[in-house]
C-alpha cells in the first residue's frame, strides 16, 4: 500500500513538472503557431485576413498577453472556418490560452504529490500535518484561480469570492476577540475605517492627489507607498488606535465594553468626517484613485496568510490563555494569567487584522467614505460570527462566504418583480432579499444559537479517517 502511494506521489510530481514545462514552452511559440494555423497561407490572398493575422504577430513583440489573447481571439472568431484548428493546433491553442490556469494546476499537482510523498515517509512524520494543509491550500488557490480564468474576473461568482474572503478575514478577527477571548466588543467598524483610510491615503497615485483632494489643495500626504507596505501600515495604525482605546475600555464589564467600543467607533467616524482634518482624510468627501486589485487571488492570499496567523496564534500558549479568560476570568487570573495584558493583546491583534480587512475592503470597493462604516457594519460582522459559531474559525469563514453569497447573489431574485401567468407575485420587490435574509438570521440566532460549527473546527483527522465505533460506550 505504501509503495503504491509513493509511486503515485512521484508520478504526480512528474506529471506536474511535465505539465508546467509544456505550458511554459508553448507560451513562447506563438508566432510559429499562428503561421501553422494557416498552412495554405490563405492570408496572403485575403488582405483583411492578412491584416488580422499581422495584428496578432505584431503585438507579440510587446508582450502584452491580455492584448495578444484578444487579437488572437478576434482572428480566430473571424476566420476560424478557414484555419486548421484541429488536433495538434487545437491543443497548442488551448494550452496557450489557458496557460496561467494550467500552470496553477501543475503547481497544485506538484504540491499534492509532494505532500503525499511526505505523508508516506516516516522520517518526515512531523511535517505531515503542515504538508496536508499546504496541499489543501494549493488546491484551493489553484482552484479559485482557474475558476476566475474561466468565469471572468467580474462575474458574480468572483464578486462573492472576493468579498467573501475579505469578510472572512474581518469575521475571524472579530471572532478572535469576541468568540475566543470573550470580549464583547462592537468597535470593529471603527478599526476597519481606520485601516481603509490609512491604506487609501498612502496609496493614492501622487499625480492624482490634486484631483482627489480638490478642496484641500492636494492634501498633506504627497507620496505613495507600495501596496503591501500600505496594507501592513493600515493594520498597524488600526492596532495603535486599539491600543489607546483599550487602555480605559478593557477594564469595563462586558456590557459596558460593548457600548464603550461602539461609542469609540462612532467617535472615530466623526473624526474622519471632520473638515478640519481634510488635508489628510479629505473630510466628508470620498477617497479614490488608490491602488486596487484585479485578481481574486490577491484578497485570498492576504486573507489566507492573516487567517493562518490567527489560527496559529489561537493554538499557541497565548491563544489558550485567551480561551481561559473567556471561560472563567477569575480562575484564569488565579492561574497566573494577567487579565489586562492578555485582553489588550487580543484587542490590539484583532484590530490589526480588522484594519487589514478594512484596507482590502477599500481596494475592493475602489472608493472609501467614512459614512459607510456605521455600527450596522459591525452588526453584520457580528451576525456572521454568530451564525458560523463563536469560537470556530472554520465557522466564521464558512458563514462569511454564505453570507456574501446569499445577500449578493442567491437571494437577489427576491428583489426582482416576478409575474407568473399574468399575476404579479406579491412581496417580491426591491429590499425583500434583505428582509428574508434578516428573518433567516433571526431564526438562527433564536433556534440555532451555536451556529454552524459551534466551537469546533474542521478536523482533518476525522475527515480523512473512517469513523471507528467505540465499544461498550456507557456514557452514550
Amino acid at each position: 500500500m505504501k509503495t503504491a502511494k509513493i509511486v503515485l506521489s512521484l508520478l504526480l510530481i512528474i506529471i506536474a513538472i511535465a505539465l508546467v514545462g509544456y505550458t511554459l514552452s508553448s507560451q513562447g511559440d506563438l508566432r510559429d503557431m499562428v503561421m501553422r494555423l494557416d498552412p495554405q497561407n490563405l492570408a496572403s490572398a485575403d488582405s483583411r485576413m492578412l491584416k488580422a493575422r499581422d495584428r496578432v504577430l505584431d503585438g507579440l513583440a510587446e508582450g502584452d498577453r491580455v492584448r495578444d489573447l484578444r487579437n488572437l481571439d478576434r482572428y480566430l472568431q473571424d476566420y476560424g472556418p478557414q484555419l486548421a484548428l484541429d488536433g495538434e493546433n487545437g491543443l497548442e491553442l488551448f494550452v496557450y490560452r489557458n496557460g496561467p490556469s494550467l500552470l496553477a494546476a501543475g503547481i497544485a499537482l506538484a504540491v499534492i504529490g509532494a505532500a503525499l510523498l511526505v505523508s508516506q515517509l516516516d522520517k518526515l512524520a512531523k511535517l505531515r500535518k503542515p504538508a496536508i494543509y499546504l496541499a489543501l491550500a494549493a488546491v484551493l488557490y489553484a482552484g479559485v484561480y482557474i475558476v476566475e480564468n474561466i468565469a471572468g474576473s467580474s462575474s458574480m461568482l468572483m464578486t462573492v469570492l472576493k468579498k467573501g474572503a475579505i469578510y472572512a478575514l474581518i469575521a475571524v478577527s472579530m471572532n478572535l476577540l469576541n468568540g475566543f477571548t470573550g470580549l464583547f466588543s462592537l468597535g470593529q467598524a471603527g478599526f476597519m475605517l481606520v485601516g481603509a483610510y490609512t491604506y487609501a491615503i498612502f496609496t493614492i497615485a501622487t499625480d492624482s492627489r490634486a484631483q482627489v483632494y480638490q478642496y484641500y489643495d492636494g492634501g498633506l500626504v504627497q507620496f505613495a507607498l507600495p501596496t503591501l507596505v500600505a496594507i501592513v501600515l493600515a493594520g498597524l495604525v488600526a492596532a495603535f488606535f486599539a491600543f489607546l482605546i483599550g487602555l480605559p475600555v478593557l477594564r469595563l464589564k462586558s456590557d459596558y465594553l460593548a457600548i464603550a467600543t461602539l461609542g469609540f467607533a462612532e467617535i472615530i467616524r466623526a473624526i474622519f468626517q471632520y473638515d478640519g482634518l481634510g488635508p489628510i482624510t479629505n473630510g466628508s468627501n470620498l477617497l479614490r484613485k488608490f491602488t486596487t486589485f484585479d485578481t481574486v487571488l490577491f484578497p485570498f492570499a492576504v486573507a489566507g496568510v492573516c487567517i493562518a496567523l490567527i489560527v496559529m496564534l489561537i493554538h499557541s500558549t497565548y491563544g489558550r490563555s485567551f480561551k481561559a479568560i473567556r471561560d472563567d476570568e477569575v480562575a484564569a487570573e488565579a492561574m497566573g494569567i494577567n487579565l489586562f495584558r492578555h485582553k489588550q493583546m487580543s484587542f490590539v491583534i484583532s484590530s490589526f487584522f480588522a484594519g487589514v480587512g478594512g484596507a482590502l475592503l477599500a481596494m475592493y470597493q475602489t472608493t472609501v467614505q467614512a459614512s459607510a462604516f456605521k455600527a450596522s457594519m459591525t452588526y453584520e460582522i457580528l451576525l456572521i460570527v454568530v451564525i458560523g459559531g463563536m469560537g470556530s474559525i472554520t465557522g466564521s469563514v464558512l458563514a462569511s462566504f454564505l453570507f456574501v453569497a446569499s445577500s449578493e447573489w442567491w437571494l437577489r431574485f427576491l428583489d426582482n418583480e416576478l409575474v407568473i401567468g399574468g399575476v404579479q407575485v406579491p412581496l417580491l420587490r426591491s429590499g425583500f432579499r434583505m428582509v428574508v435574509f434578516s428573518v433567516v438570521i433571526m431564526l438562527m440566532v433564536l433556534f440555532y444559537r451555536r451556529g454552524i460549527m459551534g466551537d469546533k473546527e474542521f478536523n482533518l483527522k476525522s475527515f480523512l479517517q473512517p469513523r471507528v465505533r467505540k465499544g461498550g460506550d456507557v456514557r452514550g
Binding site: 500558549t317 471561560d327 477569575v330
Partner: protein, 282 residues
C-alpha cells in the same frame, strides 16, 4: 539565594468590609513553613472572603499580608470607606499594595475554589496546561510561529505530570466538566499544583465527598505536601479531615478569630463548640 522564611504566610489585622457589612474583622494569623493549617468556622463566617483577600481577588479594606516574610498586600480605608469603616486599627497602615491575583500566583501562592471553577470548554489536560503558562518566557511572535517548541514541550510534560499526580492521566482528553464531581475537585488541585506553588490554598477540597474519598484526600494532601515541599492552608467543613491532617487550626466566626491551637485544643474549646452548636460531622 534567599534564606528560608519563618512564616510562609502571615495576616495582620486583615479586615474586609462591603458597604456596611464587615465580613472579616481584624484577622491575624500565620502559617509556618511546611505546616498544614486549617481555617474553620460556621457557614458565612468569612473564610472564603479571607482567602479572596489573600489571593488578591478582593482588596482588603485594612491590614497586611506577608508571604515568605515579604509584604505583598497592604491597605487602609480610602475614599468613601474612610467614613464608613467600622473595624479596628483604622490608622495602623500607611502603605497601599494591591497586586492583582496573577501577580500573587506568580509569587508562589496557588488556590482552588469553593465552587469549582474549571475552564468549561476545555479538556482536563488543557485545564492543567493553562496553569503552566505563568512561567513561560516566549513572546507573542515566537509563540505564534511555534519557535518556542522546547517550552511548549516542557509545559505539556509538566501538565501531564500533574495529571499523573492526581491520577487523572487517563482522562486527560475528557471535557473537564464531564468528569464526576470528585474528580473535578482533584483536577482543580492538579491545576493549582501546575503553577509550581510553595503555598497551596485549598477552599473546601472535600466538599461533596463521602468519608472514603475524604480519607483518600487527606492522605493525598499530606503526600503532595511532602513531595512538592509545600505549605498548605485550607478551609474545610469536614472535621474528621481537619482533625486528621492539620498541624494547627484557626477558628473564625462572624469574621473574627475566636480560637486557635492544635486540633485537640480546638476541639475542646467551649467557644468553638458554641459557635458550631456541636462539632460538625458531615
Amino acid at each position: 539565594m534567599t534564606s528560608v522564611a519563618d512564616h510562609a504566610l502571615e495576616l495582620r489585622n486583615i479586615t474586609m468590609q462591603f458597604g456596611g457589612v464587615v465580613a472579616v474583622d481584624s484577622l491575624s494569623l500565620h502559617v509556618n513553613q511546611g505546616e498544614i493549617v486549617a481555617l474553620i468556622g460556621p457557614n458565612g463566617a468569612g473564610k472564603t472572603t479571607a482567602f479572596n483577600c489573600i489571593t488578591g481577588v478582593y482588596k482588603p479594606t485594612n491590614g497586611q499580608v506577608y508571604y515568605q516574610d515579604q509584604l505583598i498586600i497592604s491597605s487602609h480605608p480610602q475614599g468613601k470607606m474612610k467614613a464608613l469603616y467600622a473595624g479596628q486599627h483604622k490608622d495602623a497602615y500607611k502603605e497601599v499594595l494591591e497586586p492583582t491575583p496573577d501577580r500573587i500566583t506568580k509569587l508562589g501562592l496557588a488556590r482552588t475554589f469553593q465552587n469549582i471553577r474549571l475552564f468549561k470548554t476545555q479538556t482536563a489536560f488543557e485545564n492543567v496546561l493553562i496553569a503552566t503558562h505563568l512561567h513561560r518566557t516566549s513572546n507573542l511572535l515566537t509563540a505564534t510561529l511555534r519557535l518556542n517548541y522546547a517550552e511548549e514541550k516542557r509545559m505539556r510534560q509538566h501538565a501531564l505530570d500533574m495529571l499523573e499526580v492526581v491520577g487523572l492521566a487517563d482522562l486527560k482528553d475528557e471535557l473537564a466538566t464531564s468528569l464526576p464531581y470528585g474528580m473535578q475537585r482533584q483536577l482543580e488541585i492538579a491545576r493549582a499544583l501546575a503553577t509550581k506553588p510553595r503555598l497551596l490554598l485549598l477552599d473546601e477540597p472535600a466538599a461533596g465527598m463521602n468519608p472514603q474519598e475524604t480519607d483518600d484526600l487527606g492522605r493525598f494532601i499530606v503526600d503532595i505536601k511532602q513531595r512538592f515541599d509545600l505549605t498548605v492552608f485550607l478551609i474545610e467543613h469536614h472535621m474528621d479531615l481537619v482533625m486528621d491532617i492539620s498541624d494547627r487550626i484557626y477558628v473564625i466566626d462572624f469574621g473574627r478569630l475566636i480560637a486557635t491551637g492544635s486540633p485537640d485544643e480546638v476541639q475542646d474549646n467551649p467557644d468553638v463548640i458554641a459557635a458550631y452548636l456541636g462539632v460538625d460531622e458531615e
